[in-house]
Symmetry: C2
Subunit: 231 residues, 2 copies
């Protein structure tokens, strides 16, 4: 990430923001998240965000130096919440070996990964934001470019490692390259979300993902047709 937002006091897990400034900051971030999610980055003004948070835009700019830093904070906060559920400590502010060591079994982690697409169905605005921004960010010089490049690198590596475990422990072992499959899986989930945003009823996302994973001997926790799952 090209821009460090500071030390962020009171953001350790289980810590509520104490000072008034911290609470205002959090309120702004909530509003920004909601509005960016609903309408994207370019189409939302600082004035709208500030009004939603109960301030003027000048008041908001006291807490954030500009619109771009605000976006970067929104993204990294979302990822901290969301990715902690999947890969503790990995996407946040540098890996935390202690937390990262305390992992769930591989099968459970795969279930959670697929469950994320269902989880996302409840926040279509955020899904659209990520889809829009990840395309927008590909332009050189975009404020979120480094963020997305890193995000995909980490996700590819992590999912690749997960699939590697699962392939090796399968009976018989799966021969496919886990990193190639990881890239396909990630792309599949992204692409399904794009279609789902436009026509939700036409895209059963989780079903399609499990159909893909069946090709590599992987089945959902409650398997309706194919082989039983390990747990």
């Amino acid at each position: 990430m090209s821009q460090e937002p500071g030390k962020r006091p009171g953001k350790e897990p289980g810590n509520e923001p104490r000072t008034k400034g911290e609470r205002t900051r959090a309120r702004i971030l909530d509003s920004a998240t909601e509005l960016f999610s609903r309408s994207g980055y370019n189409s939302v003004s600082l004035r709208e965000i500030a009004a939603h948070a109960g301030m003027t835009h000048a008041g908001l700019l006291h807490h954030f130096p500009g619109k771009e830093p605000l976006l970067l904070e929104v993204l990294s906060r979302r990822d901290e919440d969301d990715a902690a559920y999947l890969f503790p400590g990995l996407l946040g502010r540098g890996p935390d070996p202690v937390v990262a060591a305390a992992r769930h079994p591989a099968a459970e982690r795969l279930n959670r990964l697929v469950a994320v697409v269902g989880r996302n169905s409840r926040t279509p605005g955020l899904v659209a934001l990520y889809a829009k921004l990840s395309a927008e960010a590909s332009e050189p010089g975009h404020p979120a470019r480094a963020y997305f490049v890193k995000r995909y690198r980490v996700l590819r590596a992590e999912i690749g490692a997960l699939l590697g475990e699962l392939f090796a422990s399968s009976e018989p072992p799966v021969a496919a390259d886990p990193h190639a499959v990881a890239q396909q899986l990630l792309a599949l989930m992204d692409g399904l979300q794009t279609q789902w945003l436009l026509e939700p009823a036409a895209v059963p996302m989780e079903e399609r993902v499990w159909e893909f994973l069946w090709n590599y001997g992987l089945a959902p926790p409650v398997a309706p047709e194919r082989g039983p799952v390990s747990h």
Copy 2:
């Protein structure tokens, strides 16, 4: 589409625009395509497009009633060029049964479909535009929403039919639901492009797509490992 742009004289295949107005119109569309592709829809002004086409923005607005209709024209023109290569007459201004009947064999159509992602590598701006817009367009009321909903419906149906042919004529026949696989394939291609835009070297798109298709007994024209291709 919510807004019909008119009858568009002189746009039949093999017809060059005759009048000066038609030529100017085409020049504007070329400029708009290039600039939208490079920087997206919101970030490009009519003034930039007009300047690129060698006019003022007021002159441009003589040919197009506003920015949104211009975008819709850019999209539909691109699709006419591009999809005609794949599925003649399908995505344009209504299906043309005569042209649609003159199709290539199924295997060749699949090869072309996969080749499109390689083709797209030469116009990353347009790829980014489509990715960005397809997410942006999911908001209700977006000018390009109807366009993208239709686009994905048509592509799903068409690719589903193609895969149905290939699955049935395979030895032995493939049991998978061709429409489900079509949706996965489309999503995979979209998602790969998203990652490729951010880090081209990390995403061998065509390779990944063929790896996916191998799961269903389908191989590229020059198959390095698996069974020979039919042609």
